[in-house]
Amino acid sequence: MGRYILFRLLKWIPSVFILLLLIYALVFFGAGDPIKLIFLQAPGDVAYDPDRVEAIRDAAGLNRPFLVQFMDYLGNIANGNFGNSLVSGRSVNSMISAALPVTLKIGLTAIFLLSIVGIILGVIAALNQNKLLDNLIVGFALIVWGIPVFVAGPLIIVFLVLVMDMDVPYGWSGLLSFKVIVPLLVLGLNPMALIIRQARAGVLEVLSEDYVRTARAKGIPNYQVVVKHIMRPVLTPVVSQIGLLVIATLNNSILIEKVFGLPGLGRLTETAIKTSDYPVILAIVLIFSTVVMASNLLVDISYPLLDPRAAAKKTGDE
């Protein structure tokens, strides 16, 4: 087990490295000169003087070759320093540490809630296979999965404010306030189909197994059969969806934070894009990919714990 985790970690490091190199190269060769961008963004502030720009570039080390600058950047990251924003001049670290908690709180709560509700709905759907309840749950999941969050969000706002005459859910005031519960629901409901689908298919597969029939034949009450014999093997395929779930939630958070005015990473991304603030964008890409890859790692590690058969297979393979 320990070796397996170590092996996965070793595979993870070059992936992150390549990704960083790719993004850094894109920004370096594609976007062009950050100093020029600063001047463009503050016209009239400083007269555009080529000599002065050259001096600033030298001072900032921007005239060095690509690889030198990249290694320099990696060194800084390793020391936990993401540089300074091109626009505001604030350190990227402080901007990130202000925004990250908002996104993390909403994202993790949404994933946690949707996993639990999704599993329950999936099991209910499977136990009522092809009946009305099943069709309702599956149809509901498909509809919600279909509608993008930046469509559902605004439509819900319009409905709540103009039809129900409520306050505008905009801004952040703690996880449990009404303002935040609305985006939380939108964020959680959207990818629930992933979980419902897996849970439902998993239960349907297990229902016809001999041990379930045996348990029923022995007269074990229905709820106990469901909880003890059916739920456990269903968890494995559900857990395998978590990587997708995290990606969907991160993508959605970029969109939903714009709609509901939440001061999280998504909002930071949007402003950074608009102002071409590359140090901020690089830092966010790094954080997002780390989160996704770490959750994939967690899934791989938790597999053998949830399903001893998978563990046996894995060690057999190696």
Binding site: F29, W145, P148, V151, P154, L155, N251, I273
Partner: protein
């Protein structure tokens, strides 16, 4: 006479699989509704500009921010442009992006998947690794970075080409928007197609008919084209349907964030983004494109699910 019956039988046999799948699809009411809506969307996208009552750019400053009426079914926006015409033109944007992206990603996917599946060993390991990396990147963010960082350079290049050649083709910067959106989307979408093809090759490559084809010297690309792709047509159709829907959502997401297709070319995404600024006074400006996009995505969702049931009947049961 006997020849005829033989031919008939053969024909029946050939089509039975596709017909089976089609029957299953037709039996699914939601899928049929989805399919009709999708066909209607394509129709609108192709013929839309000829049937819109107004030009999508023509401004009528006397009639700004009007609520829906008989003259303007979806109302007008802050410049007095007819929203319905803009929504219809937005369908064209969405469909163009969806088709080009899906086509490109399918080509990349088939190429990479067959490379991996055929050569195996280190090549395969490398391609699997590429697939893993691409799938574990937060896709929206990566596409945004590609778009934002490549755009100035491409626009510059187009300007230089225009100055060099004088060809007015290079003045069209809208093209840059579109090309960047297709390109970057295809770059993150290919792994699914590659996985399908790779898996199919793995399962087919040791079958006798493929070995026989190899033995008589049929070139590899032809084997992939004639034996592997027809075998994976089911999953590929499901992939195409899902990819079309996803690409539309992605396109409008970028435009919503102000990255992809930019005004004045209407895209549902940038219309929703515009609507968000004035929804309290004029909710129809926001609601019209949002409702249409929601309807289209639901249609694709139903159709995709129906196709999935019809072609891989094991999943939902």
């Amino acid at each position: 006479m006997t020849d005829n019956t033989l031919e008939l039988q053969q024909e029946e046999k050939q089509f039975s699989l596709a017909k089976d799948a089609f029957d299953r699809l037709i039996a699914n009411k939601l899928a049929v509704i989805g399919m009709l809506l999708v066909v209607f969307l394509f129709f609108i996208a192709i013929f839309g500009p000829y049937i819109t009552p107004y030009d999508f750019l023509s401004q009528d400053l006397q009639a700004r921010n009007q609520a829906p009426s008989w003259a303007h079914w979806f109302g007008t926006d802050d410049l007095g442009r007819d929203i319905m015409s803009r929504v219809i033109y937005g369908a064209r944007t969405a469909v163009i992006v969806a088709f080009s992206t899906t086509f490109l990603s399918l080509i990349i996917g088939i190429f990479m998947g067959s490379l991996g599946g055929y050569f195996g060993g280190k090549v395969d390991a490398f391609i699997v690794w590429l697939i893993d990396i691409t799938m574990s990147v937060p896709s929206l963010l990566l596409v945004i970075v590609i778009n934002v960082s490549m755009k100035p350079r491409l626009v510059n290049w187009m300007d230089e080409q225009f100055l060099l050649t004088g060809n007015s083709f290079y003045r069209n910067t809208i093209l840059v928007d579109f090309v960047l959106v297709f390109g970057s989307l295809a770059l993150i979408k290919w792994p699914k197609a590659a996985r399908i093809i790779r898996g199919q090759i793995m399962s087919v490559r040791n079958k006798n008919y493929v070995l026989a084809a190899e033995a008589i010297g049929v070139p590899t690309p032809k084997i992939v084209w004639k034996y592997v792709i027809p075998n994976s047509i089911g999953p590929i159709i499901v992939y195409i349907s899902a990819a079309l829907g996803e690409a539309m959502v992605f396109e409008s997401s970028f435009s919503f964030l102000g990255v992809g297709v930019r005004p004045p070319i209407p895209s549902w995404g940038n219309m929703i983004s515009d609507g968000l600024r004035v929804w309290q006074l004029y909710p129809h400006i926001l609601a019209a494109p949002a409702a249409v996009l929601a309807l289209v995505t639901i249609a694709f969702s139903f159709l995709g699910d129906g196709l999935n049931d019809a072609l891989n009947p094991r999943q939902w049961k």
